[in-house]
């Protein structure tokens, strides 16, 4: 089936406006979705959590056993088609599993690497024979998968890999030689997806079994966090890989690598939602229990402020990430059965939302880092003690900003992809930016209405104009050389990110209000208001910094005055709003939504 006309383009949220009914929100979960989430949560709480201390101590036989138990419940097969022994569920189902597995701390890495970067390359890009051979055992947890891309000298520069593959003299095998570093699950994985260059040139993916001659692993790494995940070097010394284990086409490994990373980035964001919700729950409970000056510390406004900010940011990430999940799921549903078996078509479907996936990744990981940091702070000295769960969460969180593409790389990808789409005519960004200039010169500030979210919608519309003005001006001024202006690119990525978050929250909140009434959506309205106002201040200062860096003289003065007009608004009382939101969190002792 061809892509439908009204299909949402990746990055399309920057232009025009969307209707609440066009986006997926967590309020749209079906009963089956909720049951899947509950099974996952119960399994994690009752089976995994009691073992986590042992697992953190590298008793990995427990991890392997738990993976089998997870497999029996179907928790590893959501993304694997039924004909290959999986369950073939929608992407929202697998997202919920990921979100709930975040409660398993470092064990979530074992599960996540297995079902995600470990198994998906075969699901998306394997031949029928490869799928038939590997997927049934991966879907049940009988075998465990890992993904080997990074090398000691190639991290972000993945294509600079030094591992080589050479066809054997009789043409029956590839001989792989090289070292793959920091491989999650390496201690016990049975199957590795490995990237190597055929004859040192053609970057390609291979399915490598642990039992093959020439495959071995190094010792466990000593890490800052996620200590319960196995991380080792995969050593390939003329590893004998049957030639039918080449995954995808020779020389097309980057298609697999980059698309798998896109999904990985999205899923990393999803995991951050689960972690942040847990940290809020722990913090609210602790703040109610802990008394100082004969008063529960939850009654102190500064603690309340923290809880409110943790929740508002979590709502922002939950709204934007599940919106992305909906987009990806739609893209998959729109693929015909044949296309679903065609790696290139699947790749295109995922690549469409590369921008959203990058946003989810850097925003999700930064929200989680903020949330766990405040969680430790609320716990005071106890938060620094290893017996408290927030101590582990704080250490575990840090890696999220680094792996699956550093947040810096992901920030660079956002404007880079936007520009490419604009050049290809997929997104009329440049046209809109040009049309905008005249409009902006003539523009008079407006007063938004006073219905709920009116001000937020007004700020959002202006934020999009600010983005077009600042990004358009950067594109005009630097052209191809914009690539070197990394600070401007990062500012652009942050603008895009805030726009995506604000819009996702507004649409989600509107959708909920339309369904259940404004009263039931009160927490959502509050969180949208709080987040939008603060994000808009960031948008203002990001745009200002960029404009000052690239313009001067009259042109700069004109642009700054436009910016001033676009950012003029009557601020809301954030102190009061945050206290109001915190009251709900403290009462319920959890993230309220």
């Amino acid at each position: 089936m061809a892509m439908t006309e009204d299909k949402v383009k990746g990055g399309g949220f920057l232009l025009g406006s969307q209707r609440p009914e066009d986006i997926f929100t967590p309020e749209d979960l079906t009963e089956e979705h909720k049951m899947i989430a509950k099974t996952t949560e119960d399994f994690v709480k009752n089976k995994v959590v009691p073992e986590i201390d042992y697992i953190e101590n590298h008793e990995f036989d427990r991890s392997v056993r738990l993976m089998k138990e997870a497999g029996e419940l179907g928790l590893l097969g959501a993304d694997v088609p039924e004909e290959y022994g999986g369950i073939g569920l929608d992407k929202i189902s697998s997202s919920l599993i990921t979100e709930k597995f975040a409660l398993a701390g470092s064990f979530s890495l074992t599960q996540g690497a297995h079902v995600g970067i470990g198994s998906l390359p075969i699901v998306f890009f394997g031949t029928h024979e490869q799928k038939e051979k590997y997927l049934p055992a991966l879907a049940t947890g009988e075998k465990i998968a890992a993904y080997a891309l990074t090398e000691p000298t190639s991290g972000s520069d993945a294509l600079g890999a030094k591992t080589t593959a050479k066809l054997s003299e009789d043409g029956s095998h590839y001989l792989l030689t090289g070292e793959k570093q920091w491989i999650t699950n390496a201690g016990f994985a049975d199957v590795f997806v490995v990237y190597a260059k055929i004859d040192g040139e053609q970057f390609s993916a291979f399915i490598v079994e642990r039992e093959y001659d020439g495959v071995s692993v190094g010792p466990e790494e000593k890490k800052m966090g996620i200590k319960g995940s196995s991380t080792r070097t995969l050593i390939l010394d003329e590893a004998k890989v049957p030639k039918e284990n080449l995954l995808g086409e020779a020389g097309k490994g980057h298609v697999i690598a980059f698309n798998i990373l896109n999904v990985g980035r999205y899923k990393l964001g999803v995991g951050c939602i689960g972690g942040a919700k847990r940290a809020i729950e722990l913090s609210a409970k602790y703040a109610n229990e802990r008394k100082q000056f004969k008063t529960p510390i939850s009654s102190f406004p500064l603690i309340q402020k923290k809880l409110a900010e943790m929740a508002a940011k979590t709502y922002a990430m939950e709204s934007s990430i599940y919106r992305t999940g909906g987009l990806i799921d739609d893209a998959f549903q729109n693929l015909s059965e044949e296309e679903q078996k065609d790696g290139a078509a699947v790749g295109r479907a995922i690549a469409e939302y590369a921008i959203e996936c990058s946003l989810n990744k850097f925003f999700g990981s930064e929200v989680l880092d903020f949330v766990v940091d405040e969680a430790v702070q609320i716990h005071g000295g106890y938060g620094f003690m290893a017996e408290y769960e927030v101590e582990t969460m704080y250490r575990n969180s840090r890696i999220n900003r680094i792996f699956e593409g550093t947040n810096e790389i992901n920030r660079m990808l956002v404007p880079g992809t936007l520009l490419r789409k604009a050049m290809k005519g997929e997104l009329p960004l440049l046209e809109q930016a040009q049309g905008l200039q005249e409009e902006l010169m003539m523009m008079m500030p407006e007063e938004p209405g006073d219905e709920p979210l009116d001000q937020e919608k007004y700020l959002l519309a202006n934020a999009k104009k600010i983005f077009l003005m600042s990004a358009g001006s950067a594109a005009q001024k630097y052209g191809e050389k914009l690539q070197q202006e990394q600070e401007l690119l990062a500012n652009t990525a942050d603008l895009v990110n805030e726009i995506f978050n604000i819009e996702s929250m507004i649409l989600r909140t509107e959708k909920a209000m339309a369904k259940d009434g404004a009263e039931k959506a009160a927490w959502k309205v509050l969180m949208t208001e709080i987040y939008t106002q603060e994000a808009f201040q960031r948008i203002d200062s990001l745009a200002r910094e960029s404009l000052v860096a690239m313009e001067e003289g009259d042109s700069l003065r004109t642009m700054l005055s436009i910016l001033k007009k676009l950012t003029r608004h009557t601020p809301i009382n954030l102190v009061a709003k945050k206290r109001e939101l915190a009251a709900g969190i403290i009462k319920e002792e959890r993230y309220v939504v």
């Binding site: 009963e31 089956e32 049951m35």
Partner: protein, 256 residues
């Protein structure tokens, strides 16, 4: 075998109970299958897997209770019946028992399993009363059951001791903790549950009038247990401490 489970939708045991205007606030609360009824569902599935037959789960409640029935179907039950009680205001155990009895009149159960007690109302009455209405045997608080032909060999919890019984079928039993470890609904089970039959019945379908099921009890007041006070450490030598303790128990706690 015709295996039936009677189950109830209750608050999640992790929910904080709040009372406003004499009612338990249920806004946004999470609900589950009453944990004791969950043992019953698990045991029913195991009995069916061993002896064949069909497991039907039955509940009395509003349409929201469909979710708990679906959960039981996802665990492996075959059919579900929802008896709607919305027409009866403030129903009590008598109401539930009446509706269930009317339903079971037309069934031929070999065994009915339920929970020992529901974690919300906590009466523990529905099971035994239903058995009485149906004129069949019942055993409460069971921790083990083995069906041998037309007899059930049962271990029953008696205040921490075990009682062994042999009881002929048909029979109603209620489950105590320790009977089994309920399974989680697996993902394939959840997807299959969507397609399993779920029948909804109201008073008319059961040939009942509202008056037949009207509650026999009135709830006068609901209140939370008193909040736990901080502990106190008594000063002085042993004699003084004992005297102080006796005085506190007498005058403050009023327990001696």
């Amino acid at each position: 075998m015709n295996i039936y489970v009677i189950l109830k939708r209750t608050f999640d045991t992790e929910e904080k109970i709040q009372i406003e205007n004499g009612r338990v606030v249920d806004d946004g609360a999470e609900y589950i299958i009453n944990p004791y009824d969950e043992y019953a569902v698990e045991e029913a599935i195991q009995i069916r897997d061993e002896h064949g037959g069909e497991v039907t789960v039955v509940t009395v409640g509003d349409e929201e209770a469909e979710k708990q029935l679906r959960t039981a179907l996802a665990m492996g039950a075959d059919k579900a019946v929802l008896i709607e009680d919305e027409e009866v205001e403030d129903g009590d155990t008598f109401t539930t028992q009446t509706l269930l009895a009317a339903y079971f009149k037309d069934q031929e159960p070999d065994i009915i399993l339920g929970g020992n007690v529901a974690v919300d109302g906590g009466s523990g009455q529905v099971g035994p009363r239903l058995a009485d209405q149906l004129g069949i045997n019942h055993v409460t608080s069971i921790t083990s059951i083995d069906i041998q032909g037309s007899t059930a060999v049962i271990e029953k919890d008696v205040e921490g001791d075990q009682m062994m019984l042999e009881v002929p079928l048909p029979l109603l039993v209620t489950a105590q903790q320790g009977l089994n470890e309920p399974r989680y609904p697996s993902l394939p089970g959840i997807m299959k549950a969507k397609k399993k039959p779920l029948e909804t019945l109201d008073l008319d379908d059961l040939d009942l009038d509202e008056e037949d099921a009207e509650p026999k009890t009135v709830t006068k007041e609901r209140f939370l247990p008193p909040e736990k006070q901080a502990g106190r450490i008594l000063d002085g030598d042993e004699d003084e401490q004992v005297r102080e303790l006796v005085s506190l128990l007498k005058n403050e706690a009023k327990v001696v």
